[in-house]
Symmetry: C2
Subunit: 181 residues, 2 copies
C-alpha cells in the first residue's frame, strides 16, 4: 500500500491538492494508519497524471499561492478498485516508545517520565482526532474504520493513564536526588 494508492484513495473521495493530501495524512481522521510526506506525494501525483489516472487544473487564489487541484479520472477509479482487489500489503506497526519502555529499568526516571508523557500526549491527540470525527458526512465504511480507530486509540490512552506511573516507578532513581537534600 504505497503513496500512489493512498493519493488515489483520497482523490476517490473528492478533489484535492498535494498540500491538502498531506494535511489529511497528518491531521485527518485516518491519520492514525496512513503516512506520507511532500517528497513522496508530489512525485506520486505527477506520475499518476502521466498515467492518466488523475487530471489537474490550476486555481489562482488571492493572497495565497496558486494551487494545483487534482481529480481522479474514470480510469483512476478502475485502477484503484483493481489495486484494492490485489493482495494487501502487511500491517506495519513499529513503536520506538515500546522498545524504549522495555529498557526503562536502565534509564533515568526523569527521561522515562518525559518520554511517557510525550507518548501520552501524542496518543491522546490522535484519540481526540478520531473521537471528534462526526458521523455526518461520512459513509458507513468510513464510520466502521473510525470506530475501529476509536476502540484502539481508546484503550491505548486508557492503558497509559492507568499504568504509566508503574513504568516510571521501574526506572532508575536519580543518583543525586537525596544528595541535594
Amino acid at each position: 500500500m504505497n503513496v500512489r494508492t493512498l493519493c488515489l484513495s483520497i482523490l476517490h473521495e473528492g478533489d484535492a491538492t498535494g498540500y491538502e493530501i498531506r494535511r489529511l495524512c497528518v491531521d485527518g481522521e485516518c491519520s492514525y494508519f496512513i503516512e506520507a510526506s511532500f517528497g513522496s506525494i508530489y512525485p506520486a501525483l505527477a506520475r499518476l497524471e502521466s498515467e492518466g489516472l488523475v487530471s489537474s487544473r490550476t486555481e489562482q487564489q488571492d493572497g495565497k499561492p496558486t494551487k494545483k487541484v487534482y481529480s481522479i479520472t474514470p480510469a483512476g477509479r478502475d485502477a484503484f478498485v483493481q489495486e484494492l482487489s490485489e493482495p494487501l500489503g502487511e500491517e506495519t506497526f513499529r513503536s520506538p516508545f515500546l522498545l524504549f519502555a522495555r529498557f526503562a529499568h536502565l534509564l533515568p526516571r526523569d527521561l522515562v517520565e518525559a518520554r511517557a508523557n510525550e507518548f501520552l500526549r501524542e496518543r491522546s491527540e490522535r484519540n481526540k482526532i478520531v473521537t471528534a470525527a462526526k458521523a455526518t458526512s461520512m459513509n458507513a465504511c468510513d464510520a466502521w474504520v473510525i470506530n475501529y480507530g476509536r476502540a484502539m486509540m481508546g484503550v491505548a490512552e486508557e492503558y497509559l493513564r492507568a499504568h504509566m506511573h508503574e513504568l516510571i516507578a521501574l526506572a532508575r532513581a536519580e543518583p543525586n536526588k537525596d544528595a541535594a537534600e
Copy 2:
C-alpha cells in the same frame, strides 16, 4: 529506531544469532511492534561487530549448519543506553486493511469477507503470542510492554469479531448470485 538498535536490544537480553534475532522479530512476544528481515539484520550485525559493539563466536552443531553467535560488549551496552536516551523516532502504524475497509462498498462481498477473515486470523495469531507470554522469565518492564500489547491486541480482535460482519454487509452484493438460482 533502526535495525541496528533492534539487534542491540535483543543482544542486551542475551546472546543470539542473526537467524534467532529474525525469529524473535517474527514470532517473539514483541513481534507486534518490531520488524526486520535477514537482509537488514546480517549487515547490521556485521557493522556492529566492526564498531566493537558486539562480538561473535562460531558454534558447530551436528546435523545443522554452523552458527555465529553474537554477544553484546560493554561498549555495546553503553551505546545502546545512549541510543535510548536520544529523541525517539515516530510511531509508525500503517494498515493496508483499514484503507481497504474504507472502500468495502466498492468491492465484491466475497473479497471483503476473505480479507476480513484473513485480517482476523492474523490479529488473533498475534494476540495468541502476546497472551501466551508467561510472566516468569520476564522483567517488570517487559511485562508492562506485553500487557500494553495484550490490551491492544485484545480490543482489535474483539472489535473484529463483533463488527466484521457489518463491514461485510456493506460490501457489494455479487451480481450473479440470484441469477444462478
